[in-house]
Symmetry: D3
Subunit: 245 residues, 6 copies
C-alpha cells in the first residue's frame, strides 16, 4: 500500500523518529492502538540509525553503509507493518543527524497532507543522543510552519494537533517526566513482536519489556485500574478539554 | 439539602478552598460543569477568609469578626448554590490558616465518605498568600491518608482520584502553569453570577472575567475549537488514559 | 527622518522583533515611554511576519508574497511612527526565520552605532513560535559581539546594556515570568492606537488590551500604587543598583 | 547484639527510613555492601508503616494496630539482619507521620553517637507519600543540629557526612534524578532475600527487581562496565574529591 | 535610643535575621547604605545563633548558654550600631529555630509599626542551615498578615513592600541567584568594621571580604561602572517601575 | 613533544576550551593534577579568543588579527606547558565561534585517538558568552559520534567517559552548580603561575584567585578536611560507583 493510498480519508497521527528503531521502542504501543482504531499512522524516520544504532551489524566483517541501511530499512518496515503504521524514510544520516530546510519543509508538507490529530516525537533533551532533540525540534518547527497561512497559501493550513514526547532511554537524565501513562495492555503482544524484529538491538528487548511493565504498574497506581503495560508521554501543550480526568 | 443527602449515590468531586471565595474565582466553572452533569460537588472551605479577603467589610465602623464570618458564609453559600455545589466550612481561621491534625483527619473522612472522582485545590506555591499552599498540602495529605488501609480500617479506602490545582492570582509568580484548559463557556454565566455575589471583593469581578476570556482564547488556540471562556488547572499526577488527546 | 539622523546625539534603546507586529503588542508601551522621554528607539524587525502573522491577508484571493510584505511594512511603519520609534527591516523571512551571520553582524553594528542603554527582545522559549527564541538568541549574540574589542577594532565597543524579554502570547507555556511590571498607563492610548493599525491581526486587539489591564492590576498589587496598564518583562542579567526597589 | 555493641569502634553509616520497609526496597543494596565491608549500619525507622504499607494485613479480619506493628517490626528486623544492619524503631506513627522535637533530638544524638560517614534517606519530594519528605527533612535537620557546637556542648560535634537520597517509587513524579548509580551486583542476592521477607508488600517484589535491573543496565551504559543490578541515589551536597570520576 | 524613638517619623526598612550575625555578613552593606540615607533600619534577630554559630565560645571550658547569649547579643548590638541599625532580639533559640505564632504576630506588629519600604531576609532554601528558610518563611508570612485588614482591624494595614533575599553561604547549593547586585562600595569600610566585631566567627572575615569583591567585580561587568564591593540579593516579587534599568 | 608522542600508551583526559585562556582559569587545577599523575592531557582550543578575550592587545595601535592570534597561541602554549598539558588549536574564530561538521568530526577523531577517561568542557548556559555553550555542545556531540560503531567502523569506538563542566565566570547567572569540588591545593602554585602568563587578561588574576579560595573553603565545609584551593565542576552523567562518597 503506498503512502498516498494509506492516508486517504482516514484520521491520522504522525510519528517523527530520529532513527529507524526509535518509533518501535518508544511509541510502538500508541501506533498499534491507533492503527487498530482505524487511524493512518505515518511514521517518518529521519535516518536509519545506520551509525549509532547498528553496532551489531558493524561488528560483522566487510560491512558497508549501504548494507546497514538496507537491513535497517527492512527491519523498520517489518516493525511498522506489525504495528500497522506506514513508514517514510528521509535518509538524512545520523551521528550526527543534520536536517536541511528542504527536509523541514518536506515534513511540513506531510503535516498539511495527512493533517494528523496528534504528533509523537522525541524528548527535548537527551544527553546520550543529540539526534533526538534535533528530531523533536524539527517535528515541532514543521508543525508551526504547516500552521502558517503564508506557507504554500494554496494548501489549507493545519489546526493545532497536540504533541506528545516519548520516553528517552534514561528518562530522569533527560529531564523528561511522564504526563500521560498510556494503557497499551491490549496491544502489548504486537509491540513486543515488532521490537523483536529489531535484530540489531537485541540487548534492548528485555530493557523495554521492563519499561512497559513499570509504566503499567505506575498507571495502575495512578488510576486504580488494572493495567499491565504502559507507555509514558510528556505533553508540550496544555490539554483542552471539557472534563478533568 | 444536608451534606449527607447531597452525596447519596451520586458520583462526586471534592473542592478544597482555603478561604470562602477561592472556590468561586478559581473553580466556579468546573463546579458548575460537574454539578450540571449530576455530580455531588463538595466544597470544603478551611476558613471564611475573614481576615485576609474581607477588606471591604472591615472598613465599615464597628465591624466584628463574628459579623464578618456570618456575612462571608452567607455569600459563600449563595455562590455554592448558584454553582450547584454543597458547602462545608471548617472555620479554622485565616492569615494565618492553621490546620490541626483533627481537621486533616476530618477531611480524610470526607474523602472516604464521598469518594471523589477528582479533587480541585490550590497551587503549591503562592508568594502572596501562604494559606493557599497550606490548603493544597492538607488536601493532598488527607487524600493519602484516606488511601491507607490502616487508617480506620473498617471504612473502605479510596482509589487514586487525580488532583487539579487551580489558578492563583498571579500565576507566573507562583510557578503555576496550566496543564489543562477547561472549556467553561457553557457555564460562564453561572460562574459570573456566582462571583458577583461576593460583594466583599467587587474589585476582582473584572479581573477574573478577563482571566476567563484569556484562558478561553488560549484554549481556542491550543485546540482549534471555538471556546469563549476557560479555567486553567495544573496537574499533579500523570494522566492515565487509553487515548492521547 | 532617516535612521542616521534619528540616532544623532540622543540616548537610545534597541528593540529586536522577529516579525513586524511583535514590537507593537509586546513592547509598544516601553517604546512610547522612552520616545516621549527623548530617546531614539530603534526597532529592528528581522522579518515582516509575512507567512506566520498575516493570515487575514492570505485569505484574500490572488494575494502574493510581495503584496503581503509591502502591506506589513506599511502597517509596521505606521505603528512605529505612532509610538515614536524608528523601524529597520532585515527582511529575512519567517516560518522559518533564518539568520545568516551577515545579519547577525549587521545587528552587532547597530549596537555599536546607536549604543543602546537597554535592549528589548523576545523570550527564550516559545513553543508556539520558533522564530521568537531565534530572534532573542540573535539579539543577545549580536550584543556580545559588539562588546568584543577584536570585532571591528576601529569602532568603540559597547558596555553592558541590560536585556529585557517581552511577554510571549502564552506566558506560562514559555516559562516566562515577569521580573518587571512596567507602568505604561501614561502611554496606553498610544499603544492602543498603534496596534489598531495592525489590520492583519484584528483578533488580537482585545486580547492584548486584557493583557495590559491584567499586568496593570498586578503592578498595582505589587506596589500599592494605582496603575491601570502594564507591560511585563523578564530580565536576563542581574540589576546593578545603589538602591533596592 | 545491642545497638550499643554494634556501633563500637567501627565505621558507620546511617539510614533514616520513614516506614519499616523503605530501607529494604530503596537502600538494601547499599546497606548490604557497607555491612560486608565491616561498617555498622544503623537503620532508623521513624514508623512501622503500620497504616500506609500494611494493606495485606489489614485485609485480615480482626486485625489490630498492635498486631500489625509487631508483625512489621519482625519483618523489618529479619530484613535488617539479612542485610547486616541494626534496626532502631522510633514508632512515631504513619499516615501521617509526625515528628516531635524530642524525636528530632534523639536522631541528632544518634548522629553524635555513631558519627556516620554517610547518610541515606528519602527524596525531598514525593507526591504519593508525604511521610517521605518529612523523614528526609528530619534526617537532615538532625544532622545540622549534631554539627552545632552549642547543642550538648559536652559531646563532640560531627563533621559533614554526605547525604544520599534514595529512589522514590515513581521517580520522575518526585523530581528525583539519580546522581549516583551504585553497583549492587555483588549483594543483589541478599537484597532480594531481604525484601522477600516483606510479606505485606509481595506485589512489589517484581517491581523492585525490575528497578534494580534498569539501574544496572543504566550503570553499564554510563560506565562501560558490566553491572547487573544497581541502586540510584541523588546527592544533596557537592562531592569533595581529589579525582573526577 | 529606644526602638520606639528610632522609628518615629522616618522611612524604614526591616531586616529579619535567623541568627545574630547573619545580618552583618549578608546585609551589612544595605543596612549601612540605608541608615546613611536617614532610614530607620530595624533588625530582628530571631535567635542569637547561640548553638549553631558560636563554636569558638563553646570551645572555652565552662561555657554556659547564658554567657553565650549575652556575648552574642553584645556583638550583634555593636555591629548594628556601627551599621546604623536598631537591633531587636526575639530569643527563640536556634538549631533548631522554632517560631510560635505569637512570635509571628509580634513580627507582623513590627511591620504595622514601622511600615518598612523594603524587607531583607534569608533565601528560601539552605541545605546547610534549616533555620534560614524558616526565618524567611516567617518574615514573609508576617508581612502577609500585616497586609490583612481583618488582623487587628484598628491598626492600618501595610502596603506591599518588596522583599529581597540575601546571599546564603554557598549560593549555588541553595538555588539562590542574585537578581540585584547592590553597590556597597561607599559603605564597605563600615561593613568590614561591623563584621570584625563578630569575634565568634573570625574565620569568616576573609570569606565575606572575597564575596564582596566578587559581587563588586560582577556588578562592574554587568553595568560598565566601577564598583569595588557588592552585595547580592534575590527578588521574590516583580519590580514595579516606570523605567527599565 | 608532538601530540602523537604525548598520547602514546598513557591514560588521558580531554579538555575542550572555546578560547585560548578558558582552560587555564577554569580547569588549570584539574589539568595539573592529572598531568602530575602521569596522564596525557589534551587541550583543544576551538579558537584563540582573538576577538573576545584580547581587549588589552587590541588597545595597542596598529594591532592585527594575526599578531593577536600569534600572541594568544604563545600564551596558551606557555600555560599548557606549565600545567603539563598538550595544546591543540582549531583556530575556528570567536565572537562568534562557528563549528563546521569537519571540526566536529576532527574532535570525534581525537576522542577515538586518545580515548580519554574523562572530559572537561564549558557549562551548558552562559548568558555572557555564547561561544561557551556551543563549545560544550560540540564537545558532547563529538563524544557521542565517537561512541557510534558506524562512524569510521575500522576504528574502535570509545566507552562512556564522564563529562565535567567547568565553572563559568558568573556561575549563578548560568544556572551552573558545582556537583564536585576538586581539591587543587597541591597544584595551586602551578595554576597560578599558568594564569599569570595570560598577560591579556591581567584583571582576572585576582578574581580567579578568589574563586579558588572560595571553592577551597566550601570544599572544607563539605568534607571536614582542610582544603585551601578548589575548582568546581558540574556533572552531566550520573556517577557509577561501588561506593557512596
Amino acid at each position: 500500500m503506498s503512502v498516498q493510498q494509506a492516508s486517504a480519508a482516514k484520521p491520522s497521527i504522525l510519528v517523527v523518529s530520529a532513527h529507524a528503531a526509535d518509533f518501535v521502542w518508544r511509541a510502538g504501543g500508541a501506533i498499534a492502538l491507533y492503527a487498530e482504531r482505524g487511524y493512518h499512522v505515518r511514521i517518518v524516520c529521519l535516518s536509519f540509525g545506520e551509525r549509532g544504532e547498528s553496532a551489531k551489524m558493524w561488528r560483522q566483517p566487510g560491512m558497508t553503509m549501504d548494507r546497514v541501511k538496507v537491513a535497517r530499512r527492512e527491519e523498520a518496515e517489518r516493525a511498522a507493518e506489525i504495528l500497522g503504521g506506514t513508514l517514510e524514510c528521509f535518509d538524512l544520516g545520523d551521528y550526527p543527524l543534520r536536517v536541511p530546510d528542504e527536509a523541514l519543509l518536506r515534513l511540513a508538507d506531510i503535516y498539511r497532507d495527512i493533517r494528523p490529530e496528534l504528533v509523537l516525537t522525541h524528548s527535548r533533551e537527551d544527553i546520550y543522543n543529540f539526534d533526538h532533540p534535533l528530531a523533536t525540534h524539527v517535528a515541532q518547527e514543521a508543525r508551526i510552519i504547516a500552521q502558517a497561512h503564508g506557507y504554500k497559501p494554496e494548501v489549507p493550513v493545519i489546526g493545532a494537533p497536540p504533541v506528545f514526547l516519548f520516553e528517552p532511554h534514561q528518562p530522569e537524565q533527560c529531564n523528561w517526566k511522564p504526563d500521560v501513562l498510556l494503557d497499551i495492555s491490549a496491544v502489548w503482544e504486537k509491540k513486543q513482536r515488532a521490537f523483536t524484529t529489531m535484530a540489531a538491538q537485541e540487548h534492548l528487548w528485555e530493557y523495554y519489556t521492563r519499561v512497559a511493565l513499570q509504566r503499567g504498574a505506575q498507571a495502575t497506581r495512578n488510576s486504580d485500574r488494572k493495567i499491565t503495560h504502559g507507555e509514558g508521554y510528556a505533553r508540550i501543550f496544555p490539554q483542552v478539554s471539557e472534563v478533568l480526568a
